[in-house]
């Protein structure tokens, strides 16, 4: 594993990774797809978000990774009110969040290697110092032989693993994954969950949305959502 040391000492991260209170959300002028959500994810927590299709899992995650804004309620990330973020501070919060999306969001003209290395490249890390990290993480997800491949030539499962590698390479404080095992066989699914657990072991808060209940280890925290309302 390329991940060997906690990114930051726990004492510095006393604030919960995610805190929501009374959060509602709608798309445009549409109906509310989330209603009165209260939720706290402490730093270092590992949780699963489950619920039937259309329940609002993806929407809730979008609020957390700052893709959408709540229509009501308060969301704070790492102790910062998300409504108060500025053009300068918002990218810095985003850098602390690794995201694996359902539709992968890879850049088609960049190789697998470049896609995975992207967060470090954006953060201004020297190419020579991130190259080995990118190669190593790609080997872990079983894509060590496909570094030069372009995303359109990959299978769904391979794209998903590229997206996961990209989400974890910068060692985020919060890792959000939306159905991350939807396109892989059970063995690879289990392997990916192990990767997330490994991330969690070094202090990363992990939230995984899934409708695959078999994936959830016994004893893990489970948040259930139905018709936009959360019950934990």
């Amino acid at each position: 594993m390329p991940i060997n040391a906690p990114k930051s000492s726990p004492e510095l991260n006393q604030a919960p990774s995610v805190q929501m209170s009374g959060v509602s959300m709608r798309y445009g002028e549409g109906p509310e797809v989330l209603r009165d959500v209260d939720l706290t994810l402490a730093q270092g927590e590992f949780a699963f978000l489950t619920g039937p299709s259309g329940a609002g899992k993806s929407s809730l995650l979008k609020l957390m990774y700052l893709r959408e804004q709540a229509s009501r309620g308060l969301i704070s990330l790492f102790g910062q009110d998300s409504a108060q973020l500025t053009e300068t501070s918002r990218p810095l919060v985003r850098r602390r969040i690794g995201v694996v999306l359902q539709d992968f969001d890879l850049i088609d003209h960049l190789s697998v290697f470049e896609n995975v290395a992207l967060p470090l490249r954006i953060h201004g890390v020297k190419r020579s110092s991130y190259a080995s990290d990118a190669v190593e993480i790609l080997r872990w997800v079983g894509l060590g032989e496909r570094l030069d491949a372009l995303p359109p030539t990959l299978s769904g499962g391979e794209k998903q693993r590229v997206a996961i590698a990209r989400a974890v390479i910068a060692k985020p404080d919060l890792l959000i994954a939306d159905e991350p095992t939807g396109n892989v066989d059970p063995a690879m699914g289990a392997r990916l969950i192990r990767l997330f657990e490994e991330m969690n072991r070094i202090g990363t808060t992990v939230l995984i949305a899934t409708h695959d209940l078999d994936l959830i280890p016994s004893g893990a925290r489970r948040l259930e959502i139905a018709r936009g309302e959360l019950s934990s």
């Binding site: 893709r67 804004q69 053009e87 990218p91 850049i107 490249r121 953060h123 190669v135 190593e136």
Partner: protein, 296 residues
């Protein structure tokens, strides 16, 4: 784990190198730069030509008088200030000058053709046409001294108008270029929306994304500018070859001067700067309004 078996490939640009969305900008910028070069070089030529004519006219004056007065008039004229040379234009020469207006028909011999004296001036300041005319009148000679002032004023006015026209054309072209660059940037933003969304999600600053556009469009502006300038240069070389064969006309000969080379050199740079700045500003403005709504 060793990575020595992996050759680090060359870093790929974040935007695809050949973007279909940028092609119209390349074409339009090339045409703009071409037109700007032509306008600047053409305006400069007309201005210079007008200056040449004006100078030619203002260094000479013409005296019109009856033939029998010529002999008496010459010493009086020579006594005037600012005249370097007087030359009597012979009757046949005068008739030759009239021919274009009167056609080939033979002029009747008794037609009173006025005699003409051509004056070369040392400088237009010290020669005073009105004073010369009254000196002749004092000697009983009815004459008309014309220092072409009305003409040279007209020529100067025309020259200024041409210059103004050229500058207006340049200003319009620059405005159109900025507008084009802004349009193209907006199209470029839409075309690259998915890439920008990814960059935004992983924490790229607006400044970083804007810089990608600044570089891409600045480069595009430079390349299209160079293409347009080369086209303009080729056109001027061809025109100068054609016009060089008939150098006796009123029109100035076209040939590449230092001014033209500067125009051809600087216009692509200007085009690059306009594209780069317009793109960067457009992206910053667009991105800054996007948060809180959807991406872009």
């Amino acid at each position: 784990m060793s990575t020595s078996d992996f050759n680090l490939p060359k870093q790929q640009p974040l935007f695809p190198p050949h973007a279909r969305a940028d092609r119209p900008l390349f074409l339009v910028m090339m045409i703009m730069v071409f037109l700007a070069c032509i306008a600047a070089m053409g305006a400069q030529r007309s201005y210079q030509a007008a200056g040449d004519w004006g100078r030619g006219l203002s260094q000479s004056a013409t005296v019109q008088l009856k033939s029998e007065d010529v002999a008496n008039a010459l010493p009086i004229l020579n006594a005037q200030n600012g005249i370097s040379q007087t030359r009597v234009i012979s009757e046949s020469e005068s008739k030759e000058l009239l021919r274009p207006w009167l056609g080939g028909a033979a002029l009747p011999d008794d037609l009173p053709v006025p005699a003409l004296i051509d004056l070369r001036l040392t400088d237009e300041e010290s020669f005073n046409a009105r004073k010369a005319q009254s000196a002749l009148k004092a000697a009983g000679i009815e004459a008309n001294v014309d220092d072409h002032q009305r003409w040279s004023r007209d020529v100067a006015r025309t020259a200024r108008a041409v210059q103004l026209l050229g500058m207006m054309a340049l200003a319009l072209l620059i405005t159109a270029t900025i507008a084009t660059a802004i349009f193209a940037t907006q199209a470029g933003l839409v075309a690259r929306k998915s890439i920008i969304d990814v960059l935004t999600q992983i924490g790229a600053r607006d400044r970083y994304i804007a810089r990608l556009f600044t570089q891409r469009f600045g480069w595009l502006g430079l390349l299209s500018g160079v293409a347009g300038a080369i086209l303009a240069g080729i056109l001027f070389l061809i025109l100068s070859l054609i016009s060089g064969q008939d150098s006796e006309g009123l029109l100035p000969r076209l040939s590449m001067g230092q001014f033209d080379l500067w125009i051809l050199f600087l216009t692509p740079i200007l085009s690059a700067i306009i594209c780069a700045i317009s793109a960067g500003r457009t992206v910053r403005r667009t991105l800054s309004t996007r948060e809180g709504k959807r991406h872009i």
